[in-house]
Symmetry: D2
Subunit: 351 residues, 4 copies
């Protein structure tokens, strides 16, 4: 049995971790950390867990937790983990961080986009970016995982095959993203009230969203060149789901001709043919968030527009599963030598 502690267990991502781990046969949750609800029954905060979870919420004492568990998940605000992490903790437990603290290798970039000082830069180099499909081998050996952001996961996996193949002009990449409201967290803010979100759609963080450098960094590794792109997130009136619609101009082939649809599709097939959680859809089928809800799948597809010589790359994902808790569990499975889909054989729920 893997003993697990969760810091931030009463946020939406933390709650989803609990939901998933309840169905994971190799895991026992030993610590439900929630600064806001200390000593309150977890099932009183998340009533879906009534008669399923009997524990009470505890504080966020990483040091003490590290002695009791094998894996710590931190589903916390930016800066939390960086402010507390030290070698002693890392020598005792594996840490999977769902915040952005260790996702970006360049400290200056992190500090610029997040507007806070990084308190533990010494661990950035060691941290492995936990995009399982890409960094599987490194994750096996890691002590510290930077679990990817929701937008970056879906954006990256939608674009990756063509970035890696070198067939798109990376300077033309534009990512138009749409997210359900759980991505905004469980904080009580007027902007996230039902009446403000329902029957409404808007862009936000235009040209300034903090997931931008994370996407650029990862696509940079994939393409082998520095990437600067546009990323525009939108808030959609639904609970769960992220949809990515990404655009890029196709390069010409060496012989001066254009890539055709079959060639483009072949890059996706090759990239994902052995992946358990990335489903490359049949031609003509557009990803829909509802088809992956509650599961760890990312559905992707691509359309070649000969009129404009662009590709439209699409991806759909449940932001709380593959975009947060599911990928965190996938990382844990890899780190612990378990089959990668243990506890993650979640069938999408429709309708």
């Amino acid at each position: 049995m893997i003993r697990v502690g969760i810091v931030g267990a009463t946020g939406y991502a933390g709650g989803e971790l609990v939901r998933i781990l309840m169905g994971h046969k190799e895991v026992e949750i030993k610590w439900y950390g929630s600064r806001s609800y200390i000593d309150k029954e977890y099932a009183a905060v998340y009533q879906n867990m009534f008669q399923i979870v009997d524990d009470i919420c505890k504080d966020d004492n990483l040091k003490e937790m590290a002695k009791l568990v094998d894996v710590i998940f931190t589903a916390t605000p930016q800066g939390f983990l960086a402010g507390l992490l030290d070698e002693e903790i890392l020598s005792q437990v594996k840490v999977i961080d769902l915040s952005a603290d260790f996702r970006i290798k360049d400290v200056a970039t992190y500090e610029k986009w997040y507007g806070i000082e990084h308190k533990a830069p010494q661990f950035i180099e060691e941290a492995v970016y936990g995009l399982c499909e890409i960094n599987r081998e490194k994750i096996k050996e890691a002590r510290l995982i930077a679990n990817p952001g929701c937008y970056p996961t879906c954006s990256f996996l939608s674009i990756y095959p063509l970035a890696k193949a070198g067939v798109i002009d990376m300077s033309t990449v534009i990512i138009d993203a749409k997210s359900g409201t759980s991505g905004a967290g469980r904080g009580a803010k007027v902007n996230n009230l039902y009446c403000e979100v329902n029957e409404n759609i808007k862009a936000y963080g235009v040209a300034s969203h903090r997931h931008t450098p994370e996407i650029e960094e990862q696509l940079g590794y994939a393409s082998g060149e520095e990437v600067v792109l546009n990323f525009t997130p939108h808030l959609v009136p639904m609970n769960r789901g992220i949809l990515i619609t990404a655009y890029a101009t196709l390069k010409k082939k060496a012989d001066g001709t254009s890539y055709n649809k079959e060639e483009i599709r072949a890059f996706y097939e090759e990239a994902y043919k052995d992946e358990r959680f990335v489903r490359f859809l049949p031609e003509g089928s557009c990803p829909e968030t509802k088809w992956v809800e509650g599961s760890n799948y990312v559905d992707v597809n691509v359309v070649v527009d000969e009129r404009t010589n662009r590709v439209i790359m699409m991806g759909a994902m449940d932001n709380l599963v593959k975009g947060a808790a599911g990928q965190a569990v996938q990382n844990m499975n890899i780190m612990c030598g378990l089959p990668e889909d243990t506890g993650l054989q979640l069938v999408p729920m429709f309708p």
Copy 2:
């Protein structure tokens, strides 16, 4: 392995059966019946099943199916199963019928409320009403299960403890029910279009809904008296979920005094203390459909109003799970001697 055939596999209840059975380790689906989509890939109809279900849809040949499988689920319109069922089929397979054909013992009542002739009345007596919490022993021996309606399941379980205890005046029972839209099925009707349902609520079938006699019959068995009640369903802008708010006047105790809150709660505690799927909530907590979504739970609670001497009995349930496919699987488990919650350890999804 239990081999299973599903008739009506592409309706919402049929789709939910597939979702649940994909996680049931003892079951193999051998036949996806769907008259509308014969020869089409099942995963092309329900894209959530892409790379999970590889089969194609077949027709509704019960006779042929009966030779290939151990259990048949019929998620079909009223009258379908009654029009085809015969002794030959029943001698070969267990049949779990999600329609209303065998729920009501009195043929005249069925024909009056449903407006169709019953074509197989000879099996009504044998059929077991598959409300697992009540008829568990009979279900073990049954060949034919009448899987309860969604509204009746939630209504009955909300009221049952007090009906059985004989502490409410059954002539005062009023059930005000609210359902998500998946209960209306997947047929293309203007009334169920997004724009007609969204941002709207209405009653329908007032004093005439066909689940009324089913509820009355079952509450009649529980209370030992004939029951005539009001049942008013409402359509709510959400996909899943049924909420029951039921009212009844309390009888006086033998000594002329009133039942107090503790006594009333004790009836619920007693009735459900060993039940895996009925959660009697703590005092002061109202059932919410979101807390049971995707799971086989029914959450119930009761409030005693001393001002009016009435009880307000509440229940929340996922109409597609405990209200349809989940209960059908629960019935199958009981019939096949499996632990009752096999494949049903679904943790409610929130948010």
Copy 3:
């Protein structure tokens, strides 16, 4: 021109007042009161008003406002107006209070259900309960209007014709109410976040909601007897709309026979035949909140259930219009001698 001041102009009801008054040709808003947004542009709080309202928000100084305007609307929390009102103000302006402060004639009842001390009981007797269809004549002469609550307005108008006719047993009245989320106000609370409300329905305030005594008092006047009833509100995932489903047992006629459908419908027809804003629907048609959205209409209908000898009375209304701001304007029109529907000729918006 009627000069108007609004206290609480940035709540949902206050915002709706502004929306309606922008289309009222006889009104000029002179004061946008909002303690939370003093000195901020009103259109920066409610961006729908960009280029429509140019004013900035001011504080809540009733005394100063009373010198500048003819009518003050207070869309404020309970206790606010009672804490500030005095004879000097009332001698200068008409006051229409959208809070509960002056709705209930019995101070003890108010203080018990609202849990606060009433600071201005001397004005309770004078205050006119602003249910226009009932108290039209008194409203004409009033200085102080207690604008009815949203639930009470819809509940009362759904039941009134039969209560007044004396044909229902008032001790059997049960009101099951469903409301959109704007009724919960614009305060930042976790319970009202999009992800908590969406895809969910629940009862709340069971047997304890503060609109109960208000409904009982008004139905008491209509029926000429003391009324004690059950009122259960539910939160529905939609922005606007209240739906009432009310139940009562029919009395027998003097000759011992039962009232039939035609007789029952005649009471409604008689009660509402001259009413501009109450629409008694054709037989067989159930009120739906979407059909009145954005308008000042209340749609009502009634079903007679011979099986149970009960009537099911239904009403649908926009909680922010007829349930708050619209009725407040209707009251202002009556007080100021304008045609009752001035500025209220709003056509419901569908879809």
Copy 4:
């Protein structure tokens, strides 16, 4: 009084026309055309119109209608008007066509994208594209108006100031559009059922949507060059609203330097400073569909991203108002010499 006939009065756009015209003091609707509901009361189809509209639905006889009315609105499927229009009709009445039949000047382009033969190409040249803000003068003299599509209206007005100013590279324009579900019409299709749309988002018509050539043609006129672009619509779980997020690369100025934010904003300010229905929002404020719901406004804004040298141009609009019925009324007003906002002083409804 302007006498009006509506063909297709029971579709969503037709219903919205009725709603708007009910508040238009200079208009009388003489003909509610609806092939599907002939002889049925209009208010029985759209119950919001109960006691507001007393007429019954009639057939689609354009010839007869032309004798009785001054203006005909056709809110009909593609091909309907082109199949019936002739000189006799046009000599009697003004026609405002909400379909695409006369929007595209090149017949071959129309026939290619719409897949049907154009039956009345002789009127294409005469037809005026009814984008009021651009073609106001021509509309005054027109007999036949091609009322713009919903996506083209919002796309065009979002991009127009920069296209006209010649400061963006038109070959880089990408339009990512999001629409509420009323845009899909009132036809009974499984894809538009509540349960299929709710809690879901998807792209559709990728690289093939029929509004593409309409947008390209109009932006071509504005920029003075042929335009080929990407347009990707998405279906959003809401009733009303279109949001446009458009991207383009900025050209350099003559002196080789880049345009700054102030210069870019000045183009918008100049273009829309006198427009009643286009609101150029303050810097930093993103358009939201909820802020324009029910009104004829288009809210637009622009962000300059110095990192990528691109502009992100955004627009929000109610697809049934400015995107269909509202713009049609605006066109009628201009054609009939009325103030352009007659009957269109609709204040957006929030929430």
